[in-house]
């Protein structure tokens, strides 16, 4: 029997909103292995790791690391003991240089000043040793996402971490970057490091992990040796049933143009050009997928079309120029928008479910008697929505923030789709929600497309783009670098190359296709 480096026993965590994040969860990691922690979004993976790292306090259970009890220790002590975490959302100071980020908090000193030379050479050595190719003197803001992640890993290594936790490291990477990351992880393993690899992508786990622990709804289901396990088995364990990864949809039947975007330009508050001459058409009954590594202008494109940002260029809806209309006008003329972030934009957490469901249409006569709000009508409408969109809540008066992520998203989707849009902008419509809700939302989107709505689908999830889209465009540094009128003609690999900017279609070809 090999030695366990980490033993987490019977961990229980209940969040303030009454959600069981972990329930008597146990996790044992052997020294020197790459151990995958798998589960759907919201299964409790991240919470478990936050508990291990001392960010969240467990309501029960013990944690042992290298045979010492570390339950209830602070994050700082845990880092000192040799556990390091690479967060899903990078914790880097963008305006500082790479080496400054790496040494931040543990600077080598000469007198009272930071020993710059020593720091730079230390970072260089580390990078060389682990084959993490980054320039120590580069400003972090100028790095690509893949490189930023390398800086994060360096940061952890510089603190002598023996156990590395990587929280969904591949979520922001292209297929090519992912492969590079895997090589580095194997190299780390060779050097004797232990790695916990959090992911919900089965293929990746099969590729590099020794063992896998599957958790579901906060409980651990099973720990398996990957080499002796089939992909289907893991996926069954994850969701408790067979997942339909393929969407069945009718062949596309495009109508006339709904949305025409012409030479859209947008410069953000930091004087960065986020959109640089975007032009495309979207037709009735078409789902147009926007692929791209995050931060290449997708959010700005959605916000600009919906009128949240000021733009230069033209946006035409059904042949009418709407570039300078208000959001109210946009909504009234049939545009709906599922925003990227349901918590900051999509809804008000401290408001009730019904308030969030009617917030865009409170002036509508269907909710009023005379000039007053009619709470009977509002109640009926809300209950109908809750039923139709299967929003799991106590009742319409429950605070929205108490619901799970998937159910919050269903509120947003219910509100936006029930407005019967002719144009729907869906920005990350299924991010961070469980498979059931995911499938539900996908089906809803497709049924709206079949009814003749045009859908602009922005997603960081390539699988979602490929499954749902009829056509695909790739955004890279604020420009359209590829256009596929028929999404079936492009593979995931191929898309990855365009997303990374390794490949670009000629602008003339793109314009011809459009």
């Amino acid at each position: 029997m090999e030695e366990n480096i980490l033993e987490m026993e019977n961990i229980t965590k209940i969040y303030g909103n009454g959600v069981y994040a972990n329930r008597e969860l146990s996790l044992r990691i052997r020294k020197g292995e790459i151990h995958a922690l798998m589960g759907e979004n919201g299964a409790g993976k991240s919470t478990l790791m936050k508990i291990l790292f001392g960010i969240e306090k467990p309501d029960g259970g013990t944690i042992r690391f290298e045979n010492a009890d570390i339950s209830g220790k602070t994050t700082q002590e845990i880092i000192k003991r040799g556990i390091g975490m690479v967060h899903q959302h990078f914790m880097l100071v963008n305006s500082l240089k790479v080496y400054e980020n790496v040494i931040l908090g543990s600077e080598p000193v000469k007198g009272i000043a930071t020993d710059r030379q020593k720091a730079v050479s230390m970072v260089k050595d580390l990078a060389l040793q682990y084959n993490l190719k980054v320039m120590p003197e580069e400003i972090v803001d100028n790095l690509s996402v893949g490189l930023k992640q390398k800086v994060e890993i360096l940061k952890v290594l510089a603190r002598n971490a023996k156990l590395l936790i990587l929280d969904e490291p591949t979520a922001v990477l292209t297929p090519q970057e992912t492969q590079e990351l895997f090589e580095q992880l194997l190299l780390l393993k060779k050097h004797g490091h232990t790695i916990i690899f959090i992911s919900h992508k089965i293929r990746e786990v099969m590729q590099i992990c020794d063992r896998v622990t599957v958790i579901r709804r906060g409980k651990n289901v099973k720990t398996l040796v990957t080499a002796q396990t089939a992909e289907d088995e893991i996926s069954r364990l994850m969701v408790g049933r067979d997942v339909i990864l393929k969407m069945n949809k009718n062949p596309a039947a495009f109508g006339k143009n709904i949305l025409e975007v012409r030479n859209l330009q947008y410069t953000n508050d930091f004087n960065r050009k986020k959109l640089n001459g975007i032009s495309f058409d979207l037709k009735q009954g078409q789902i147009l997928g926007v692929a791209g590594v995050e931060g290449n202008g997708q959010n700005e494109l959605a916000d600009c079309i919906f009128g949240l940002n000021g733009v230069t260029g033209k946006v035409l809806l059904n042949d009418k120029d709407i570039s300078h209309n208000s959001i109210r006008n946009h909504r009234d003329s049939g545009i709906s928008y599922i925003p990227e972030d349901r918590i900051t934009t999509g809804l008000a957490q401290h408001s009730t479910v019904w308030e969030n469901l009617v917030v865009d249409r409170i002036d509508s006569h269907s909710l009023k008697t005379g000039r007053c709000l009619d709470h009977k009508k509002i109640g009926l409408f809300s209950e109908q929505m809750i039923g139709e969109y299967q929003i799991l809540c106590k009742d319409k008066n429950q605070e929205s923030g108490m619901l799970s992520g998937g159910n919050m998203q269903k509120i947003v989707v219910a509100r936006e789709l029930s407005a019967n849009p002719c144009l729907l902008i869906a920005n990350q419509p299924t991010r961070g929600i469980d498979v059931g809700a995911n499938e539900f939302i996908w089906n809803k989107l497709i049924s709206y497309r079949d009814m003749g709505a045009g859908i602009l689908l922005i997603s960081a999830d390539l699988n979602e783009i490929l499954e749902l889209s009829d056509s695909i465009m790739v955004l890279y540094e604020g420009k359209i670098t590829a256009w596929f009128e028929d999404s079936r003609t492009v593979s995931e690999e191929e898309l990855g190359k365009y997303m990374l900017g390794l490949k670009k279609q000629k602008q003339e070809i793109i314009h011809e296709e459009i």
Partner: protein, 355 residues
């Protein structure tokens, strides 16, 4: 027979917290009285039961509550959109001053004077919000500063033009005949202002719960980013909400002036505006609870006054109670663990029920 079941649910926690805050602050005050008073029994007696001893004193409680109802409602509307607009204090004062000036200068009918005061209050409270919309200035700072402008401008109007030289305090001339709010009960000074206040309670409740305007303002307060995304015209809405909030404070000022006094007698800011914040907090930002909160505060004020007259405890004691209540009610941590326990219990129960 059905068993009577008394259960506390999570949603009751808020009221429980308010009750606990009031109880604790009262206990603190009782302790202080016990420690510093030579006759603590008598002091406590006059503090707690003094206000009920005579019709006049009961009247005083209600008289004290009326302006608090106005400013409490004003604060509810002013802060509903999430802005921290504190101009109600100045609005209350300058509304009374303008109304008094108008009636003294032009002998207009009382309703006209009151309307003028009300509109002045609305404009004053709208100013910080307009500045926020136009210049992105900090509402807290501008509204706070505006209060001093209101105070000195109001004082200038009265002292500069309407000062009665026959008395040696800085009061204005007497208001003309027939320009006082009719009294409702003999002995007390309770007047039709009370009815206006109660009507305002209904109006504010209606705005907040039955109009789309109130709904929108509430949602802006909950999440302005979402409100914009949902298609609301935020700038117009928050200015309108400030204006209405200011009108309530202004109306309160005129009601106080023409209900309680025969001349303009304020020589300092009245503090009714600030106390409105306390009323709004106690009423949990709900219009329907404002009269209750205002009565409670009025009761304590009168109690403190009676106590200071009949014992060796100064009436400033009331400020301690107020401060402690504010701290405790706004302390989110109070009963936090208890709340969590309840949540866990309810979660487990609902799961057991689902199985």
């Amino acid at each position: 027979m059905k068993k009577f079941e008394f259960r506390i649910r999570c949603r009751d926690i808020e009221s429980l917290r308010t009750g606990l805050a009031i109880t604790i602050s009262l206990l603190i005050v009782f302790t202080i009285i016990l420690v510093i008073s030579k006759a603590p029994g008598a002091a406590l007696y006059s503090f707690t039961l003094g206000p009920l001893k005579s019709v006049r004193r009961i009247g005083s409680v209600i008289e004290e509550a009326v302006p608090l109802i106005f400013t409490g409602l004003s604060v509810i509307l002013l802060q509903r959109s999430g802005l921290f607009n504190l101009a109600m204090e100045g609005a209350f004062f300058i509304a009374a001053a303008t109304a008094a000036a108008i009636i003294l200068a032009f002998h207009v009918p009382l309703p006209v004077a009151m309307l003028t005061g009300t509109l002045t209050g609305g404009i004053v409270c709208a100013i910080p919000t307009v500045l926020k919309v136009k210049c992105n200035s900090n509402v807290l700072v501008t509204s706070l500063m505006l209060n001093y402008i209101c105070f000195y401008v109001g004082l200038y109007i009265i002292v500069g033009h309407f000062l009665d030289p026959k008395i040696n305090t800085a009061f204005s001339y007497k208001f003309p005949e027939g320009s006082l709010l009719p009294r409702l009960f003999p002995v007390t000074r309770i007047n039709t202002g009370l009815l206006i206040a109660l009507a305002c309670v209904v109006i504010v409740w209606f705005i907040n719960n039955r109009t789309s305007f109130g709904f929108k303002v509430t949602m802006i307060g909950k999440n302005p980013v979402m409100a914009r995304y949902a298609g609301m015209k935020i700038d117009k809405l928050i200015v309108a909400a400030s204006f209405i909030g200011g009108m309530l404070a202004g109306l309160g000022g005129t009601v106080d002036m023409f209900g309680m006094y025969t001349r303009f007698q304020y020589t300092a800011l009245t503090n009714y505006g600030w106390d409105g914040i306390l009323v709004a907090i106690l009423a949990k930002q709900k219009a329907q609870y404002v009269p209750l909160a205002a009565l409670f505060l009025g009761y304590m004020r009168v109690g403190a006054n009676v106590m200071s007259m009949q014992s060796d405890i100064p009436s400033e004691m009331i400020s301690i109670i107020q401060a402690v209540i504010i701290i405790l009610v706004s302390a989110q941590a109070l009963l936090k663990n208890y709340r969590k326990k309840l949540i866990i219990k309810e979660t487990q129960e609902s799961e057991a029920g689902a199985c």
